[in-house]
């Protein structure tokens, strides 16, 4: 029995399946989530899979400041995810409603409506931070076991957690021909998480 519990704990930590939900986001964070799953960052080496159905997911990734139109859908999808589950608020919008604060079309932030476990701040957050947040949520799931979730707040800094950010090793500097208004990247240091 104890062995089974330990095995289940490992399995929950090693196999986080995501469902991605947009609650009125500007699409910036959604693009970063896609980037986190793409070959460049390769979240699958941590067992992360993006699932098509909320029923299959363990972790609900919510982006956006929760608009009036979206709040019903967010609650429905949260109920459709089968327990044990965790919610990751991706970007500053679901955490604080960000620049849209005091807008009359919003009913956010997210934690007014569903319990949020991990916040990944940023506008948008880097893919490494998103992966670190998902790993943190998976660890929470593993620690909690079958007990009902306790509300607790976890913030993820991009530099946290030994996440393999880049499966191809250090990034090469982008070519100088990319965009005119960008500062030249020749002397710049690459930020390694």
């Amino acid at each position: 029995m104890k062995f089974w519990k330990r095995l289940m704990c490992t399995a929950r930590r090693r196999s986080p399946w995501l469902f991605h939900m947009n609650s009125g986001s500007c699409n910036g964070c959604d693009i970063e989530i896609v980037a986190a799953l793409s070959p460049r960052y390769d979240a699958e080496q941590l067992g992360v899979l993006l699932q098509g159905s909320p029923r299959h997911a363990d972790i609900l990734c919510v982006t956006g400041p929760v608009t009036r139109k979206a709040v019903g859908a967010v609650k429905t999808v949260y109920d459709q995810v089968c327990g044990p589950k965790a919610v990751v608020a991706i970007g500053s919008c679901p955490a604080t409603t960000n620049v849209f604060i005091d807008s009359r079309t919003l009913v956010g932030p997210l934690d007014k409506h569903v319990p949020v476990d991990v916040y990944v701040p940023g506008c948008p957050p880097r893919p490494d931070a998103i992966i670190a947040g998902v790993v943190k949520a998976a660890t929470l799931l593993a620690e909690r076991g079958d007990n009902p979730p306790k509300p607790e707040m976890v913030m993820v800094e991009p530099a946290e957690a030994g996440v393999p950010a880049d499966s191809r090793g250090p990034q090469e500097a982008p070519p100088a021909s990319w965009g005119g208004d960008r500062p030249s990247s020749a002397g710049r240091e690459e930020v390694q998480p």
């Binding site: 289940m8 399995a11 196999s15 699958e44 067992g47 699932q51 098509g52 159905s53 363990d58 044990p84």
Partner: protein, 309 residues
């Protein structure tokens, strides 16, 4: 008595459950890893399908009241037992038993998981499940014609429906033709690209599996893995003539069987990574227009060999 013991050993130990379940996880890993490597990724760790399975066993399922819920829970179990039975029938070891007509039983058991998927999608009463099931049904009537014609042509050329006789036949032009036709059907049978449209991820949520969660979904994953083992194992036994008899030892036969199956898995994974999902009309047209020619050629030459030579 002896036959019963052999049959039980085949179903429970090798190539049955004790071998097939770890092999199913291994093949699922090989597929995911191969696709990852083709995309220049690191890919999932070795134990990933096992962890996924254990995690799903520990999840809750939504309440399913009444007979409809009971039926919905039954489909994945039927699919798993059918796929496990199909693996148990494969003639891997020399003199492993078997009976006249076990090829027909194998084909029926191979088809059962697909039937279960269709039924599961409709009984889940989700619109996405129903769309997925309708696609699966349309795909199934297209590839099965080719699949059955190819197998019947191989069987007809040997005058037998006994798997063991087919496994130890001499390779001929007809076998090659038949195996090519079977290989062309496997991506559709296993729902991988370019014929992944029944469970089209993201496009129709998860197709027939949309409403399944927790242990039920774990059973679907397992039945999918067992289908991999059964389908690639069938090709392996047909491709390698005298898989056992040539060398004589059971151990070598088992190793050769596994190696050939992995080779087929790799071939299919490369195909899956290199292609995109086809629409339903293109998929159906592919099987009815392009592949059917191979199958008809195979069966007509089989009949020719049977009656005129």
């Amino acid at each position: 008595m002896n036959t019963l013991v052999t049959a039980l050993a085949r179903f429970l130990i090798f190539p049955g459950l004790l071998f097939a379940v770890p092999a199913a996880w291994f093949f699922l890993w090989v597929e995911r890893k191969a696709v990852a490597l083709m995309q220049e990724r690191v890919g999932p760790p070795f134990m990933q399908p096992f962890f996924d399975f254990v995690k799903l066993l520990g999840k809750e399922t939504p309440p399913r009241p009444g007979i409809a819920g009971l039926i919905m829970r039954a489909w994945p179990l039927i699919a798993v037992s059918a796929a496990a039975g199909a693996v148990g029938l494969l003639p891997v070891l020399p003199a492993s038993g078997g009976f006249e007509g076990d090829l027909i039983l194998l084909l029926a058991l191979l088809e059962l998981p697909s039937m279960c998927i269709i039924a599961a999608g409709f009984s889940s009463r989700s619109i996405f499940g129903e769309i997925g099931s309708a696609r699966e049904a349309a795909l199934s009537v297209s590839y099965n014609i080719v699949f059955l014609l190819a197998i019947v042509s191989i069987a007809a050329s040997q005058h037998t429906f006994r798997l063991e006789a087919l496994a130890s036949m001499h390779p001929s032009f007809l076998t090659v033709l038949g195996v090519i036709a079977i290989l062309a059907c496997l991506p559709a049978k296993l729902h991988i690209n370019p014929f992944s449209l029944p469970n089209a991820e993201q496009e129709i949520y998860a197709g027939p599996m949309t409403e399944y969660a927790g242990p039920e979904l774990a059973m679907w994953e397992l039945s999918h893995g067992l289908e991999w083992v059964a389908a690639t194992g069938l090709v392996a036994t047909l491709v390698a003539p005298h898989i056992a008899l040539a060398w004589g030892t059971s151990l070598l036969a088992g190793c050769l069987f596994v190696a050939l199956s992995v080779a087929v898995v790799l071939l299919l994974s490369v195909l899956a990574a290199a292609t995109a999902r086809l629409a339903i009309d293109s998929s159906v047209r592919f099987y009815w227009q392009c592949t059917l020619i191979f199958a008809v050629l195979a069966i007509s030459s089989a009949l020719f060999v049977r009656f005129w030579l």
